[in-house]
């Protein structure tokens, strides 16, 4: 504030009319009592009583939702087809990587070519019928 501004700010304004105070407060009580307005609802009001319990519940739901999403087939036909294909690939992969079946004792040392086409159970059946 420069000198000119200071000079202006020193000029005193007139005061309100003397009777206005009496007009305003003549009949009313000097102190107004009032109830504060209700505060707005917040999420905190819900969470505050047991934040740990709410947090644990949220975490549990997250785990549940993630698990559901991983195991549920998609609803669209394309999605379902892809899901089915991936399931087949997964199954065949596990078949290929699993160890080869052990031949029955009777066939040990024999030609095991049949094992490539038949399960041990079927071979057992076949041997039984021969006996």
């Amino acid at each position: 504030m420069n000198e000119f501004e200071r000079k202006l700010s020193q000029q005193a304004f007139r005061r309100p009319p003397a009777d206005l105070r009496a007009v305003l407060f003549g009949a009313s009580p000097p102190v107004a009592d009032f109830a504060p307005p209700p505060t707005l609802w917040t999420w905190r009001d819900w969470f505050w009583p047991s934040p740990h319990a709410w947090g644990a519940l949220v975490a549990l739901w997250m785990v549940f939702v993630v698990q559901q999403r991983d195991h549920r087939p998609p609803r669209s036909p394309e999605g379902a087809a892809l899901w089915g294909l991936s399931a087949v690939v997964q199954w065949s992969g596990s078949e290929l990587t699993s160890p080869a079946p052990t031949p029955p004792a009777e066939l040990r040392g024999e030609d095991t070519t049949l094992l490539a086409f038949h399960t041990p159970r079927e071979l057992h059946h076949a041997l039984d019928s021969l006996h």
Partner: protein, 168 residues
Amino acid sequence: MSLDLRQLYDEHAPALFAFLLNFTRREADARDTLQELFLKLIARPELFVGVQNRRAFLLRLTHRLAIDAHRRRSVHEAAVERAAAEPAALFVDGADPDEAAFRTALTEALAALPAEQRAVVHLKLWEQMTFAEIAEALEIPANTAASRYRYGIDKLQALLRPLYEELR
């Protein structure tokens, strides 16, 4: 909760009346608006709940009421300017004739300012408010408050310079 309205009046009414007198330039309007403001507060004291700066809050309400009052009288804001053409006595009279002349010149110079510039100049000079506080009270951006003040004070300086230099 409770609010001492008489104490509130004693603390703030002189400043609010000064603002209104300078803004409206008519004593009757200033009085009516001040009365309307306090009648509202008597009816709804809960308006003060959560208010940090009472003076700034009251000035904001006062400014709104003054604008509403002028709009009621005329749809054009030019009414404020027309009213300003008939300046009311703004300042307390003093014995010094030179100072009296300066006050008269200042009253006329303030009347030459647009109402919104005058409001900013008043709050800056006579309420010592910051531009941020003025912006909040008048509901304008702080940059606007600063530029209005600069234009206003430059104009006052131009109008009052001869007399001001003479008095120094």
